[in-house]
Amino acid sequence: MRKIAGTVLFVLAAAAAVGATFLPFSELLIRLAPGQPQTAYVTTGWSTHFGGTKDEHGPLFAIPVVLAAVAVLAGVRWRKVAYAGAAALAGVTGMLFVYLLNAISFHEEGNIAIDPALEAGFGNGIWVLITAVVLAFGAVVVHPDD
């Protein structure tokens, strides 16, 4: 029973981590001139867009996330690999959180004169990623030893 529960949690954690990479990690909504519609500056694990323009050199945060998710998924067979994968996923999430927190603050400070009503904040992706970390460690605890 514990093995089934652990397996389900490992799969859920890996799916949540990979799914998070397709969701926005951070969002900035800004009006570049009075009366103009808001332009969205969105960072996901795979791309960064400013309105309709893609940043060709946007950071690919998804790559370390997916690699850690694969290690978590390996926990179905090797529990210790999953433990390392969960820790790696936590490291990825922690460093990404530090980066995003500062980037959001930078967006606000740097653009407040252009649009005092701008909105900058975390996207759903980071919360899903944090949930994936919790699920991964939960799976390690529940899954029986090798």
């Binding site: 060709e56 050199h57 946007g58 950071p59 690919l60 945060f61 790559i63 370390p64 690699l67 850690a68 210790k80 433990y83 390392a84 994968g85 820790a87 790696a88 996923l89 936590a90 490291g91 990825v92 999430t93 922690g94 460093m95 990404l96 530090v98 980066y99 927190l101 500062n102 980037a103 603050s105 930078f106 967006h107 606000e108 400070e109 740097g110 653009n111 407040i112 004169a113």
Partner: protein, 143 residues
């Protein structure tokens, strides 16, 4: 099997290398007018910063997750599993830095600026690999 003393020594070397990385520059980008952005573990320094650019400071504390990983590595001397968590966590954190470095290099080249890797990043990479090797070896010894 390399033995527990060797494994602990590898972790210790990894800790020292990573701790050194926390005080050295990680990478820098140079732009026209002598503007240079130097990224370190505890903030970003802008040399010859133009008066109104940038309005905010993009100066994240990348050192924070690395310091937590270091603490776990040190705890690994007494709690075997902590070392693996620390080393794997550090590897994950370094993965995000790698993604950022590739991105920043691309931006710098696109804007015809200069990009340089600092010793801090080299120490972080080597420290992470050495600590991970030690942490895995400690796990194998304990098994």
């Amino acid at each position: 099997m390399i033995g527990r003393p060797t494994a602990i020594a590898l972790i210790a070397i990894g800790v020292v290398l990573t701790a050194t990385a926390l005080v050295l520059p990680w990478y820098s980008t140079g732009y026209a007018g002598g503007v240079e952005v130097v990224v370190r573990a505890w903030g970003t320094e802008i040399v010859n910063k133009p008066g109104d650019w940038p309005a905010g400071e993009l100066s994240p504390w990348y050192g924070l997750p690395v310091a937590v990983a270091l603490a776990l590595l040190v705890a690994g001397v007494w709690v075997t599993r902590a070392a693996l968590a620390g080393a794997a966590g550090q590897l994950g954190a370094a993965g995000i830095i790698a993604a950022l470095v590739v991105s920043e290099r691309g931006h710098a080249i696109e804007q015809q600026g200069d990009f340089a890797i600092g010793f801090g990043l080299v120490f972080l990479a080597v420290g992470t690999v050495v600590a991970l090797a030690g942490a895995v070896a400690v796990q194998r010894e304990a098994a």
